[in-house]
Amino acid sequence: MSSNPIPKPFWLLAEVTYRCPLHCAFCYNPTDYVKHTQNELSTEQWIKVLRDARKMGALQLGISGGEPLLRDDIEEIVAEAGRLGYYTNLITSGVGLTEKRIAEFKRGGLDHIQLSMHDITKEINNFITDTNTFELKKKVAAMIKEYDYPMVLNVVIHRYNIEHIGEILDMAEQIGADYVELANTQYYGWSLLNRAQLMTTQAQLEKAEAITNKFRERVGNKMKVFFVVPDYYAGRPKKCMNGWGEVFMIVTANGDVLPCHSARSLPGLEFPNVSNGAELEWIWNESPAFNKYRGDDWMKEPCRTCPDKEKDLGGCRCQTYLLTGDAEQADPVCSKSPQHDLILKAIEDAKNSQLASQPQPLVFRNDKNSQRIINGEAPELLEGLHSLP
């Protein structure tokens, strides 16, 4: 740790369940999530988490999953968040959002709903999510509008929909979206397993960004469009989570408290769990896990002496570990990383795999596949990737 004072958590993400009716092949959830579908925190435990985090200064609350609406106590959680003064966002696939529930959320003080959309075609929507949810999502979008919520659409972009980006934006405009996040797939969990099939090429990405810029010019301030460039093509790493233990605190379905979504993939770190009586304040301020990569004392070369080290803090620890087997190296997406060739190879493979007539089938995120991975029954999935959890 450097001598800077410990910052306050600002963003609390409550991943209230790993259960999900969708089976998206690009999901960042852990591949072994099925271990934690039977031991979710209770309503009372979530309410305590909300109260404790708010006392520490947390202000933005994301309720996510899995699909949070699979729990029947989201209304209670939302109402408590409202009383505590959080700015609360429900992050949902839309499955399970009924008129009755949305009215209750409105009463409870939910501030906005972020709906995931996948494509303009029923075929791609249903294929990538491995469900029949296309019509439902359109109905839910209309309901969000009807209840006067700001409409925030999140579209994960990958090879199967990047060519439709213009039409996706037109659809967003038609249904009256206020904010659209075009989130190019990042590779963790399930999406890392499926990387060779999901990854877009540099040319596709550049074209998509150009179309997005043109669309922005046309719609002006009416709709805010965020285009999140994927790390692999960014040349420099992202300041992951805005710094380890700086802003974000994630509480998972089973009560683990993490500084980022994928932190449990890192070796040698023990994450405290609120159901074992650990207090959030201690976890954030004192726990070894939250202090492990705070600041820059942990850095090696080339990061240690890099002029950009404050700007990006050496990138993402999880991505670095997953790709290089050593969490304390520079993030290999950085062109200054000695292991940057791993990224160049993945990009090259993506191009080749697009040319292949019979690409490897996608591994969908579902309980059966999760169990197979835990059992070690699918070693072929791990081939070519260094150290998946």
Binding site: G57, L59, Q60, H112, Q114, V152, D178, Y179, N221
Partner: protein, 94 residues
């Protein structure tokens, strides 16, 4: 955007934006989907007085009463509202 701000204009917070005091931050914040702005002291004082009914002139008068002796308050209020309008934090009431 919507042009130069005039004394008789009336502004309200943009739709779906929330403005509140945050003890932990020691200041006012503006919250909206996908983001948040921590306001400095004077920006907070201006937005606090903006209720969709009062004119810009009313807000200036009120600030002058609350902070007597502060020079150029009127220019500060106009500058703050211009910025807030550029950022789409506020909209002109009909």
């Amino acid at each position: 955007m919507s042009g130069k701000i005039k004394s008789e204009d009336v502004f309200g917070l943009a739709r779906h934006f929330r403005f509140q005091w945050e003890e932990a931050q020691g200041g006012y914040v503006l919250l909206f989907p996908e983001g948040m702005v921590k306001l400095n002291g004077s920006a907070g004082e201006v937005l606090k007085r903006m209720d969709g009914k009062r004119t810009v002139a009313d807000i200036v008068t009120d600030c002058q009463a609350a902070f007597p002796g502060v020079p150029d308050l009127e220019a500060d209020v106009f500058a703050m509202l211009t910025l807030a309008q550029e950022k789409s934090w506020i909209t002109k009431a009909a």
